[in-house]
């Protein structure tokens, strides 16, 4: 076998050249982007401490903002419930489609392509579009928020579940198929038991994520925690808005910690 002689030095030199080129390209894109968007990096950076100083004065909850707490808690509770419900319903639908569409459990090529397409479509329609379209038909109600979260979550979970099945269940599946087990036996005896921890891990992650996304949906559709933040914000009750942000931080970090504890036991 003949190979062109590549010395270590020339190889490293070439690699460094490529890396420098890529870095220069990224810097160039950044500079052009800043010019077009009229974003002054230095000014922007300097405004951060100022912004935080402003926040520290205006957003700081005071004694009187405690009175908002019950209302905030109620809306936040609603939002968490809505996130959980949207993820659970989405997960049930998604596992069904993921089994039909994954490369290892899929029934045929056509279904695989179809499911992939559907998932990609649902996932890539902006959450804003879902929220606004649904608002038009279903008006300002919690159901609208629920549907918007549900539709987007379905897209995410189908993809995630398909990847989990392909990564984790393929080998055990083949073994059971070789024993003469039928399709449904393989699904219930090999695939489901094998993927359940990852499934639950993803469900927990999506719940956490949907609490955050519910804020956006809430602002647009006038529901839940997003709505109440928007009201405080637009009526300049910044201390109450700050209180809302603080409550969200506590709840999201609480959920994240709880999820991590659950994961530790399950995996």
């Amino acid at each position: 076998m003949k190979q062109p002689k590549v010395t270590a030095a020339s190889y490293l030199g070439k690699k460094r050249l490529v890396q420098s080129g890529v870095l220069a390209l990224i810097a160039g894109i950044y500079a052009i982007g800043c010019y077009i968007l009229q974003f002054d990096t230095i000014q922007g950076t300097l405004s951060i401490p100022k912004a935080f100083a402003w926040l520290a004065i205006n957003f700081m909850p005071t004694q009187s903002s405690m009175s908002y707490l019950p209302q905030i808690m109620e809306k936040l509770f609603d939002t968490v419930l809505m996130s959980i419900a949207s993820v659970v319903v989405a997960a049930v639908i998604a596992i069904f489609f993921a089994i039909l569409g994954s490369k290892v459990t899929g029934i045929n090529k056509f279904m695989q392509v179809l499911v992939r397409g559907i998932a990609s479509f649902f996932r890539n329609i902006p959450l804003v579009a879902w929220a606004m379209i649904l608002l038009f038909s279903f008006k300002q109600s919690n159901f609208t928020g629920f549907l918007a979260l549900l539709l987007m979550t379905i897209g995410f979970l189908i993809r995630a579940f398909m990847e989990i099945i392909e990564d984790e269940a393929g080998e055990a599946m083949m073994a059971l198929k070789a024993t003469g087990a039928s399709y449904f036996q393989v699904i219930f005896q090999a695939v489901i038991p094998q993927i359940i921890p990852s499934l639950i891990s993803w469900i927990l992650y999506m719940i956490e994520n949907n609490v955050r996304d519910a804020t956006l949906v809430g602002i647009l559709t006038g529901t839940g925690i997003g709505f109440i933040f928007d009201i405080y914000y637009k009526s300049f009750r910044f201390d109450a808005a700050g209180m809302t942000v603080l409550s969200i931080i506590v709840v999201v970090i609480g959920l994240e910690t709880l999820s991590n504890q659950i994961r530790k036991v399950i995996l």
Binding site: I29, L37, V128, L220, I266
Partner: protein
């Protein structure tokens, strides 16, 4: 075919009974299976409660779904560029894409820096714990709230959007990168430490080259997220871009033909981003 002939006599073990009267158990309940059941049941009960108590404002479901189908029909089957026209929408789309790219670059640079400091295998535990806690708080606040907060603090516009989006981007990538760094084989780092290399030399000679594949992979995942967030922030914080156009056409002028057109434009961009991400991952995994 299978018989006990010629096999060793079976010693009865305490863990199960071979008494023919007694049923043989297939498994014992472990903490893990118990937790899985507990979580599953709780989630289902909560969902059931939520769905039965969901406030629908007495909207007639059948009519609403019919209306939704009509909207879908206008959007997806009869899209057009509407009052704004293609070029205005394309420019707005460009703004959102740029927002996504800029905030990803900021997130990647600062994120890498923070990740190095936060990784348990590179620095002392106090720094790491401090940064991780800070980033957890930053991540807990929804992007849209960051953008809204900055738009009062520095005024409405792209600067507020960029700063708002960057906070989340930095926090997310710090976590992702530092998890990749912590997976590095300790031998690689020790090998350089033994030769007396300086901290940043180790970072750029050992850490950086080792994690480039996962670095690239995470960065592109974040680019997809940042683009989606740029659209969202444009709509809900009035920060401009295609998101703002989407908000105006769907919430103020109710031109769902144009909404459909915009959605298709956004989908095309996300598909391109996804395609690039997949190709890059294949490129790096293939090596």
């Amino acid at each position: 075919m299978i018989s006990n002939e010629g096999t060793k006599p079976i010693v009865s073990k305490p863990s199960f009974q071979k008494d023919p009267q007694q049923k043989i158990k297939l498994h014992k309940t472990t903490a893990s299976t118990w937790m899985i059941q507990a979580v599953t049941i709780s989630l289902i009960l909560i969902t059931f409660y939520t769905l039965t108590h969901l406030n629908t404002e007495n909207v007639k479901m059948a009519d609403a779904f019919k209306g939704l189908m009509m909207t879908f029909n206008q959007m997806f089957l009869q899209p057009n560029a509407g009052a704004d026209g293609f070029w205005v929408l394309l420019e707005a789309l460009g703004v959102s894409v740029l927002l996504g790219i800029l905030t990803t670059i900021i997130g990647a640079v600062l994120g890498f820096f923070f990740a190095v400091i936060a990784s348990r295998n590179l620095t002392n535990a106090y720094w790491g714990a401090g940064i991780r806690a800070l980033m957890a708080v930053v991540r807990a606040i929804p992007t849209i709230l960051w953008a809204l907060i900055f738009s009062i603090a520095v005024g409405l516009g792209p600067t507020a959007a960029i700063l708002g989006l960057s906070f989340h981007s930095v926090a997310y990538l710090t976590k992702a990168y530092s998890e990749s760094i912590e997976e590095i084989d300790p031998a690689i780092i020790d090998a350089l430490k033994v030769t007396g290399c300086k901290f940043w030399t180790i970072v750029f000679q050992a850490v950086w080259p080792t994690i480039i594949p996962s670095l690239v992979s995470w960065t592109f995942i974040r680019l997809e997220i940042n683009f989606a967030n740029a659209v969202a922030v444009g709509a809900a914080a009035g920060a401009g871009g295609i998101g703002y156009q989407l908000f105006v056409t769907s919430g103020l002028s109710f031109d769902f033909h144009e909404v459909g057109y915009i959605v298709y434009m956004v989908i095309i961009v996300t598909l391109i981003l996804e395609f690039i991400a997949v190709k890059l991952r294949q490129h790096y995994l293939g090596k």
